[in-house]
Symmetry: C2
C-alpha cells in the first residue's frame, strides 16, 4: 500500500556536490548542493540548482562559470560545513584549509583535495521557483591520479563519493555491488 | 596530482530513476534514466533528461506527464532491463511483471512495486544537446507504507535505492553512515 506524503522533493540517492566559484573580488567560495545531476551526454553538461539568496548565485551570475567538485568520504565534514556557512562574510577555503586552484579554462576555482572536478561554463539559466537551475557545459574533467584502478578508469571505491539522505539528515557512503549494468537483456525471456 | 580525462559527463553518485509514461495507445512504458535529480524545492520539481530517440520522449511530449519511480535493490535487474529494451515494440510491464497504476492526477502510470513514486507534470522542456531535459513539477509523492521508520519518515535503509556507477558499469547499494548532516557548523573554528 502507498501513502501520499503530499508534494515533496524526495528522491534517492541525492549527490553531494560542492560548487566552486569566485566572487567579484576574486575571493574563492564553495557551497554544497544536492539538487543536481548530469543532464546531457553530448555536449557533456551538468545541472545544479541554487537559491538566489546564496552567495554562490551572484558569483555564477557574474562569472558565468563554476566547478562541481565531488568530495570523498573523508571530507564529509568540510562538505557539510560549506553547505551551512555563507561565503558572504567568510572565506570557506581559508576556514577549512581546502585549496582553491584557478581553472585555466574558466573563471572558477576547483578544489584540489577532492578526487573529481568538473570545470563548467554556464550555457543556460532556468528560472524554476525558489531555486534557479544552472546548466553548465563540462569543459574539462579532472580526476585525481590515485583514484584510477588497474583497468584505467576512475574507481567508485577509490573516489568514495558521499550520498545525502535528506529525511534521515545524514551522509552515507557507497554500498555493496548489486549487479553488472547492461546484463539483464535476456533476463525476462 | 590531477589527470584530465577531457570532457566527460562523470559524476558520483548517479541515481537510478525509472520513468513511467503512457504512449498514444495508452500502453504503459518505463525506462531507466540516470541523468537527473531534484531541481527545485518550491514548487518541488525534478529534472530528467531523455534522448529524443527514446520511446519515452514521444510519450512525455504527447502526455505532458511522467512519473519517477525509485527501485529497491531487489528490482535491480528490472531497472537494468528497462534501460536496455525499448517500449516501441514491447510492453515492458508485461515482460517484467511489474504493475502500472494510473495516477489520479496526471496521464502517467507509476510502478506499484517500487517504494517511492513521484507524480509529475511537465512544466519546462529544455533542449540541451543529444538529451532534452524535462522539468516536472512533483504533484504528489507516494511512499510504500513499509518503508517508514519508527520516527515516521521514509528510511533509506528500507527503501534501499540503487546507485549507477557508469565507469564501473555496475549498480551499487547505499553504504555506511558517515556523518550527521548540519552537524559541522563549528567544526572548523
Amino acid at each position: 500500500m502507498k501513502k501520499s506524503i503530499g508534494k515533496r522533493e524526495l528522491v534517492y540517492p541525492n549527490p553531494v556536490f560542492v560548487i566552486g566559484t569566485y566572487d567579484s573580488n576574486g575571493i574563492p567560495n564553495m557551497m554544497a548542493a544536492s539538487w543536481g545531476g548530469i543532464c546531457c551526454s553530448e555536449p557533456p553538461c551538468i545541472a545544479v540548482s541554487v537559491r538566489p539568496t546564496r552567495y554562490t548565485y551572484g558569483n555564477i551570475k557574474s562569472t558565468g562559470a563554476f566547478t562541481i567538485n565531488i568530495p570523498s568520504e573523508k571530507y564529509a565534514s568540510e562538505a557539510d560545513f560549506v553547505g551551512i556557512a555563507t561565503g558572504a562574510n567568510l572565506n570557506k577555503f581559508e576556514k577549512t584549509g581546502l585549496t582553491p586552484v584557478k581553472s585555466e579554462l574558466v573563471n572558477a576555482p576547483y578544489i584540489e583535495e577532492f578526487p573529481l572536478n568538473l570545470i563548467c561554463k554556464v550555457i543556460k539559466t532556468i528560472e524554476i521557483g525558489v531555486h534557479v537551475q544552472f546548466i553548465g557545459e563540462i569543459l574539462e574533467t579532472l580526476v585525481d591520479e590515485n583514484v584510477f584502478n588497474k583497468d584505467g578508469y576512475p574507481d567508485i571505491d577509490l573516489i568514495k563519493p558521499i550520498i545525502y539522505d535528506m529525511p534521515g539528515r545524514s551522509y552515507r557512503g557507497i554500498g555493496e555491488y548489486l549487479l553488472k549494468a547492461y546484463s539483464s537483456k535476456n533476463k525476462f525471456d
